[in-house]
């Protein structure tokens, strides 16, 4: 192209680069429509090359091109291309595998102390309720809603209490109950995560309250001499369930910690860095709760043999401990 003293410099600039910009535009549109995997690997490689070229064109254009329409179009094109080029390209199954084998246990280890504190709060709630119910059985109703308690309340006879621990019952009803319990627990976990943002006070209350439920029930069954049977009923799923709730609580406390003591970073930065990790913890916790509900709804109803129930509980406990302590540690 002979130099045109007459035309602006940017006319030539555009003429020389427009074909590659247009190619990029087409590729980006294709990726937007069909997803990244709908486009072949050679095209993706080409996309990355074209993106870098367009990005450098934009850098030049911003400082020396005065065609506003061209500039705005280029800005948009580079932004859209950037979003495609930097989109995560891993498959969902791969992401899930990585998360379960490494990401989740690692995130849990990073909030080990918070989780321990959350567990202590549950224990505190349980202890409080236990001592009060032990002193006066009517205090039971302070902690457990009458409707929720069903047949498991101080007015029931020891025999009927015992029956609730071993009833095979209607399979379908039990499944419904397990599903509803899972939904409830999972919602509470997610709630606790979200509430950590508000300085953690609601988190503490929720944890203590959940502990109180367990404590009040335990006190009732202990007072009737059903301690062994009660724990054999609660532990097989409780090990998993209570761990998951403690984890959600730990996540909430970690969020509150980031909010209250952001350290060297700003509050928003600290909250954001913690928030991403804790979201993963809560999601993992929901998976655990699903597992707990399965154990509760199906397994526990089949296995009524007390020692087997304890064996099951200790197997779960051991597995979780090993998983959180060891999984996903980088080997040296």
């Amino acid at each position: 192209m002979s130099d045109d003293l007459q035309t602006p410099w940017s006319v030539r600039f555009r003429r020389e680069r427009e074909p590659s910009w247009r190619e990029l535009e087409e590729l980006v549109a294709k990726c937007d429509r069909h997803g990244i995997r709908g486009v072949g690997p050679e095209k993706l490689a080409r996309l990355a090359v074209l993106y870098r070229a367009a990005a450098s064109s934009l850098g030049v254009a911003r400082s020396s091109v005065l065609d506003r329409n061209l500039l705005e179009w280029l800005e948009t094109l580079v932004a859209r291309a950037y979003l495609v080029v930097y989109a995560p390209q891993r498959r969902a199954a791969e992401v899930a595998r990585e998360f379960l084998l490494a990401g989740f246990p690692a995130a849990v280890r990073s909030i080990a102390w918070h989780t321990l504190a959350a567990a202590m709060l549950i224990v505190l709630g349980a202890a409080l309720a236990w001592t009060m119910v032990a002193a006066d059985s009517e205090a039971f109703y302070l902690f457990v809603d009458r409707a929720l308690a069903g047949e498991r309340d101080p007015s029931a006879t020891t025999a009927s209490l015992r029956a609730t621990l071993f009833a095979g019952g209607n399979r379908r009803n039990l499944l419904d109950f397990a599903a509803r319990l899972f939904t409830h627990n999972a919602s509470v976990s997610i709630l606790v995560y979200g509430l950590g943002f508000v300085f953690g006070l609601p988190v503490v209350l929720l944890l203590v309250y959940n502990g109180m439920l367990v404590g009040a029930m335990s006190a009732l069954f202990h007072s009737r001499g059903l301690a062994v049977e009660w724990w054999s009923w609660i532990l097989p799923h409780g090990v998993t369930e209570l761990t998951a709730i403690a984890l959600a609580g730990g996540a909430g406390l970690a969020m509150a910690g980031a909010m209250l003591f952001p350290g060297r970073s700003t509050r928003v930065q600290a909250l954001c860095a913690t928030g991403r990790r804790m979201g993963a913890v809560v999601a993992g916790g929901v998976v655990m709760l699903l597992l707990a509900a399965f154990v509760e709804g199906v397994f526990r109803q089949i296995v009524t043999h007390v020692p087997s129930r304890y064996a099951l509980a200790s197997i779960f406990g051991g597995l979780w401990a090993a998983y959180f302590a060891l999984a996903g540690r980088r080997s040296r």
């Binding site: 002979s2 045109d4 003293l5 007459q6 035309t7 602006p8 410099w9 940017s10 555009r14 910009w21 549109a29 997803g35 990244i36 870098r52 990005a55 911003r62 400082s63 020396s64 005065l66 065609d67 506003r68 329409n69 061209l70 500039l71 179009w73 800005e75 948009t76 094109l77 932004a79 859209r80 950037y82 979003l83 930097y86 989109a87 995560p88 998360f99 990401g103 379908r172 499944l175 419904d176 397990a178 599903a179 509803r180 899972f182 939904t183 999972a186 919602s187 997610i190 709630l191 995560y193 979200g194 943002f197 969020m255 954001c272 928030g275 991403r276 990790r277 979201g279 993963a280 809560v282």
Partner: protein
Amino acid sequence: MNHLPPDEVVRTPEGLDLRFRVATASERLLAFGTDAVILGLLMLGVAFVCLYTVGLAGMVLWCFLLRHGYFVLSEIRGNGRTIGKRLQRLRVVRADGGPLTAEVLLARNLTREIELFLPLQLLAEPEILVGDHGFAVRVVAFVWVLALLFFPLTNRQRLRIGDLLAGTRVVYAPPAKLATDLAAIRRPASARAAPTQAAVGQAADEFAFATTHLQVYGERELAVLEDVLRKSRLPGGADTVAAVAASIQNRIGWTAPVPATAAHRFLQAFYAAQRRQLEQQLLLGRRKTRKSATPRTGGAPAPERGVHPDGE
């Protein structure tokens, strides 16, 4: 333009600052409304199918998974765009320029529980949350829950709490159209052969602008001129062209008569010449942003066009 939220500047790994327009509250409401309807229909469908096959337990489970999974999964699949967001041309981007990983999208969507489902539940059935508590407790609960619901209206970037936790922004990213270059005018070869110093720009051999003609206006006026020319085909555009052409002739001291029919050609030629002049000065490091300013040499460059220095 000022009633819109500020632009979000995202720095890519290459170190390029990209500007995105932050989505307005109403755009996001529309997008969410669409998604909510879709989600509602999905849940209804699943509920019916489950009730006739696997029973209540399956329904409860699937509805829960749908409620929490819909946004996360569709944002993962659509790289930050749910169906509602696609329709509104919105998308999620990360403020720090990194990729939209599942972790980030999970973090930004888990909080919907406290931001939306909880407030809605409270509005629908107040007794669930506040039970038989006193009036004061109810008021506090309501205020608190509504504060969460309206949180996006309290900050300029319209951040939900989920956006805050995940470090994401929702931006408006419509596709743009590249129009023809107004300054690319075909000229006969003879004009190209003998350019003179005095005639800096010369379109269709009709108007020869001297350097003095081109030292009046700056970049801002050039942008306005571009706008006028691009809209000249719209109703009323021709009148604007004539008026602008007249006022420019007056201002730059253009004495040669321009017939009314040539007003558009005059403006186009002037635009090309002016852009050439200003771009040439830019290459030499002199930026002239507006007409009152005198060309500056060296020193600190003026702020780049359209890039807000305060972008956070």
